[in-house]
């Protein structure tokens, strides 16, 4: 039987970005907070010191910092007519674990969604008609929150991370050198942009010649030393090319470790428990209130932690699973379209264009997680979709995250994958190639959802999460159109040749795409269409809050981290200013 512990004000389930943000915010408000993380403690000098952090085999291919799926994975299928089978090895997405989680091994690509991205249904319907948002069984929704409401919280995250970049829109005034399509910003970035290597520079020139609007990628990689509002200090990035999938040994990448923990761990009202996995949220008999969480530690001991408030701050897939396992909210049924938990799972629609030069040395090993020049001309509704047959878009980035040779050797079209011909192509092209990343939106659709698997169970005997997902025709059309736009820029760089890697066929779990899983615990303006309100508060159990990209009703053509962080800050604000005074629903359903 579980041992019952002393009650606390709030528990955090999972300790990545949203756990760190909520921990800091709630502890500063004087709450007694306990955070549970099922993975291990991790910190820079011990776990990713500069002496051994740049290890492609260990971190990328042996998944040393990622979720170990041998204990707990999920099952996957492309549609309801298939039998879902376990994801037996990580591939398409690289789930985080441990303190800091994905915030440790992300690239640091920091994006705000466009103002119109929060109005996916109403804006596109108004401009392109009803069919534009309902075709292909799409189930896109408005978010129930606006860019204007989120802007101060995006700014909070920029200040926390020390984002390096150049504003393109300050208080509505377009700024030279930034992204002219972005929503108005209240502040310039805290740090200037990163320096650009050869490839991104050539990309920017070519894009400008075509009339596009190139700008440096906003990034949580430090262009210079920075001290954030919590007093945490970071050092300037050395462009070593090992961000993505790696921890930074140099305190140069924003992470919960580098930005929040040194401050938060000094607070006497904060406790972090590692190797402790929350099994479920416990509810009162009427299921209207959470009483706390039951967790098991790595020694196999089970505990009940009573709490006034439960914050689900694990990854999307775990948050949704905990909601389902705990009986919070009505599960989504794709046949009837009723229910909400698990609804509107979405992903990211990725493609790329490789560029090969005969004589120019790109030196791809000089890189950083968000070292890129980008164009946003074809993202969201930044362009006229009339007659194109799709909504959404992508940013196109001439990007060099690094030149790690197991993963990142590009070879020309029709080069075999092995043999002398492959080896010669690798030797010839490694230093002289470059890649454009097309980072596309993913619209939600009726048949794409998350629920509990009927067959497979984890080491605790709980049903695994089941993911049913495939790209819609909308996203294929978007991706093809965007890949063609990227190819135009690639050709304008005057290379020897290019190679298009289009997004074709059904979603596959094997090749790495992105760890940008979204939806399943979506936000909205009423309990019929969403799991949580605009403050990420459960409509059904108002002392439960569900953080993260699970709240996205569909995914925009940007990396999700800044948006999910801004949502967490907004939630914390509402908890502090309203909920604590009068615990209960923050929005009337």
């Amino acid at each position: 039987m579980a041992t019952t512990l002393k009650p606390v004000d709030a528990v955090l389930v999972g300790f990545g970005w949203t756990g760190a943000i909520m921990g800091q915010q709630l502890c500063d408000a004087g709450l007694n907070v306990v955070a549970f993380e099922r993975g291990p403690w991790r910190d820079t000098p011990t776990d990713f010191a500069t002496g051994f952090a740049q290890d492609e085999l260990r971190y990328m291919w042996r998944h040393h910092l990622f979720q170990n799926v041998s204990d707990d994975t999920l099952t996957i299928r492309n549609n309801v007519n298939q039998e879902a089978l376990p994801m037996r090895h990580l591939g398409s997405f690289l789930l985080g674990t441990g303190v800091g989680s994905g915030g440790v091994h992300w690239n640091g690509q920091i994006w705000r969604f466009l103002p119109t991205d929060f109005l996916t249904k109403s804006h596109n319907e108004k401009r392109y008609g009803k069919k534009a948002v309902s075709a292909y069984d799409m189930t896109v929704q408005d978010w129930g929150v606006t860019y204007e409401e989120l802007e101060p919280h995006y700014d909070q995250f920029d200040q926390l991370c020390g984002t390096s970049g150049k504003a393109g829109n300050l208080h509505g005034q377009i700024q030279a050198g930034g992204n002219p399509f972005e929503g108005p910003r209240s502040n310039e970035y805290p740090n200037p942009p990163m320096l650009q290597t050869y490839g991104p520079t050539l990309f920017g020139k070519a894009a400008a010649e075509l009339g596009r609007h190139p700008f440096p990628h906003p990034t949580g990689n430090m262009s210079q030393a920075y001290t954030n509002p919590l007093g945490a200090q970071m050092g300037a990035c050395t462009y070593c090319g090992f961000c993505e999938k790696f921890g930074c040994g140099n305190y140069s990448k924003a992470s919960p470790q580098t930005t929040v923990l040194p401050y938060l761990l000094q607070k006497s009202n904060f406790t972090l428990k590692t190797e402790c996995e929350v099994l479920r949220v416990e509810l009162t008999a009427d299921k209207k209130r959470a009483t706390g969480v039951t967790y098991v530690n790595s020694a196999g001991e089970e505990f009940f932690q009573p709490a006034e408030m439960v914050i689900l701050s694990a990854y999307v897939l775990q948050n949704v699973r905990l909601l389902l396992l705990s009986g919070i909210g009505k599960p989504y049924d794709p046949k009837t379209g009723e229910g909400v938990v698990g609804k509107n799972y979405a992903y990211q629609t990725m493609s790329s264009v490789n560029v090969f030069f005969e004589d120019k040395l790109m030196n791809p090993f000089i890189g950083a997680g968000a070292l890129a020049t980008v164009i946003d001309d074809f993202n969201g509704d930044n362009f006229d979709h009339g007659g194109l047959g799709f909504i959404g878009g992508a940013y196109i980035a001439g990007m060099v995250t690094g030149g790690r040779p197991i993963e990142m050797i590009y070879t020309p079209q029709n080069t075999p994958a092995w043999g002398l011909e492959w080896k010669h192509a690798a030797a010839k092209n490694y230093l002289r190639s470059f890649s454009l990343s097309i980072h596309g939106s993913c619209m939600s659709a009726r048949g794409n959802y998350l629920d509990l698997d009927p067959t497979y169970r984890d080491i605790h005997g709980r049903p695994m999460l089941r993911m049913t997902f495939d790209f819609t025709e909308n996203d294929h059309k978007m991706s093809d159109y965007l890949t063609d736009r990227a190819a135009e820029v690639a050709k304008a760089m005057n290379p020897r040749e290019i190679k298009l890697n289009r997004r074709t066929g059904s979603w596959s779990v094997t090749p790495y795409q992105t760890t940008h899983n979204t939806g399943g615990a979506i936000m909205g303006d009423n309990p019929k269409n969403s799991v949580v309100n605009k403050y990420l508060q459960s409509w059904d159990v108002p002392n439960v809050f569900s953080m993260g990209a699970g709240a996205f009703p569909q995914n925009a053509g940007y990396n999700p981290t800044a948006t999910l962080a801004a949502l967490a800050y907004m939630s914390a604000d509402a908890i502090k200013s309203q909920y604590l005074k009068s615990p209960g629903p923050l929005v009337r359903g």
Binding site: E56, H63, Q82, G98, Q266, E275, L361, N363
Partner: protein, 256 residues
Amino acid sequence: MVTKVNLRRRQLLVGGVAAGIAGTAAAAALHDGELGAPPQTIRGAVPWKEGTADAPPGATGSGYTYFTPVEATFIEAAVARLIPNDEVGPGAVEANVPFFLDRQLAGPFGRGDHYYLGGPWPKGTPEQGYQSRFSPAQLYRAAIAAVDQYVGANLGAATFAKLAAADQDKLLKGLESGDVKLDGGVDAKSFFAMFLQNTKEGYFSDPIYGGNKDMGAWKMIGFPGAHYNYKDWVTRHGERVPFPPVGFKGRPGWET
């Protein structure tokens, strides 16, 4: 090194503030990653302990510990076709890839430490990826036996290693495409994909893992290895970066 050390961390290190770590009884490490270490309760400061760096588990010793002599013969012959040797750069055999593969299969990777191998085990669609009960080490063992059996039954040679190079290539292409069907419950395509991936890993990973001998594969392509700082080279567009490759243990010729 110019690493910026967090001020509070520095205070902690020199000021001797006690970090409140209360580890309860240690459970046996189940797996690398979550639920693999004793539970900790962390409060009051960032914990840090001397001598606890999570250093990489390099390969040790010499000779094969996982492969039988028959299996080693197959591996050496096959990787020599996947990455052949010539004047452009080392082949996989010359880069010591067979030794790398042996140590990987003898260790956590071979045991499937990061694989979910629970049942049931239907075959699934190609999009559902790896679907086998075999751990990587078990898959290699079963696949090598199945390939040699296929060669004996269909190609008139005793083993894969005894085939002419062109016939070896043809068979490997058949495994790659899945046109060649193997017995013993082995999915040829899955095995080939893993084998090719692991071969490239041995060819290009840091030499501490036993392959990439003398960083020959890095020299061939021009990758400088685990280099810490390129700041001075970021805006020197198109120039050749003159650094010779360096691994975690330095480079050949370094005095230790």
